[in-house]
């Protein structure tokens, strides 16, 4: 059985904790803390309705895709003050999911830059909160290379989150086959 370490990254309040929680087959480890009044003016929750908690370390979950592959999922914290955790999460990871909220596209740039810097393969999943721009427009806005898979998802739905992960594993497999030929 292959164990694959996967990281889930993206901006603040984009749905990383929700994705890990919805697909995990074990009780997910979650380090969500109540947002305090000290965070007013630091963490912009004005465009993330109903958000009252935030991840301060990382999320962890596990999903068995098939008889030969099990994924260990690590959800990164979104805010800048926790970015120092990312290096540890990236260590040993084979690939990443970048979650995007089309209303705050600019929040994804840091994730994509960082993954490109680490040369880690990734897929981009648009967590659809509202209708928003088409996938082609998102690809252009994020300046994604044509070979980076880009799909829609609903992070609250297990089947949708699983589809994102399968897309990533297929992408990794293609890259691996490409490099060994």
């Amino acid at each position: 059985m292959d164990a694959l370490k996967i990281v889930v990254v993206g901006g603040f309040g984009v749905g990383k904790t929700t994705l890990v929680g919805s697909v995990s087959e074990i009780r997910p480890l979650s380090t969500e803390e109540v947002m305090t009044q000290a965070s007013v003016g630091v963490d912009d929750a004005s465009r993330v309705r109903g958000k009252s908690t935030t991840t301060v370390a990382f999320d962890f979950g596990r999903i068995t895709l098939d008889a030969s592959r099990v994924l260990y999922l690590f959800g990164a914290p979104g805010q800048q003050r926790f970015w120092f955790v990312w290096d540890q999460l990236f260590a040993g990871s084979l690939g990443a999911v970048v979650l995007v909220d089309t209303r705050r596209m600019e929040d994804s740039w840091y994730s994509i830059d960082r993954l490109e810097h680490h040369r880690m393969p990734f897929v981009v999943a648009v967590n659809r909160f509202t209708d928003g721009p088409s996938l082609e427009a998102v690809r252009e806005a994020l300046a994604l290379a044509p070979d980076v898979p880009l799909i829609d998802c609903d992070a609250r739905k297990r089947s949708s989150g699983k589809h994102v992960l399968i897309t990533l594993v297929e992408h990794l497999t293609r890259l691996h086959e490409g490099s060994t030929q």
Binding site: L29, T31, M35, T36, S39, D44, S46, F82
Partner: protein, 140 residues
């Protein structure tokens, strides 16, 4: 007491904890979501931001450990030893934690005792209330 008075008193109490306890380098009070509230003078502002974020992470992982393997009553005391120093964290008032960076050879028992004593004295002032509702007050 006014807010300014309280802040000054807290700063003084943190300095006092540092001065009376051999081995303590820095003292910081942080919110559970990883933001600094007050800290001793020798700590750089950037380092205070770092310490607040990582101490919140440690306490949140402790809480998860307590939920999984303990009775889920919450984060207790945490201690991390590393070459060149150690970090101790105890829960303070609601929504806040007290963190201390100390020398490697510091007396852990004494440091922890003095930290808990401080929380007993002034824990009611070391609180970070939840935000009223997401979105309120974010924009000027």
């Amino acid at each position: 007491m006014s807010t300014t008075d309280i802040t000054q008193t807290l700063d003084w109490l943190l300095e006092n904890l540092r001065e009376k306890t051999p081995g303590i380098r820095h003292v910081l009070v942080l919110t559970r979501d990883g933001l600094k509230m007050c800290f001793t003078g020798g700590l750089e502002r950037d380092a205070a931001d770092q310490l607040a974020a990582l101490a919140a992470g440690i306490q949140s992982l402790s809480l998860s450990a307590s939920a999984e393997f303990g009775d889920g009553a919450g984060a207790g005391q945490a201690m991390v030893e590393f070459a060149g120093g150690m970090l101790l964290i105890v829960p303070a008032g609601e929504g806040a934690h007290l963190a201390v960076v100390a020398d490697e050879d510091g007396d852990v028992g004494l440091i922890a005792h003095n930290m808990n004593e401080l929380v007993e004295q002034i824990g009611t002032y070391l609180t970070a209330a939840p935000r009223q509702a997401a979105g309120i007050g974010d924009r000027p």
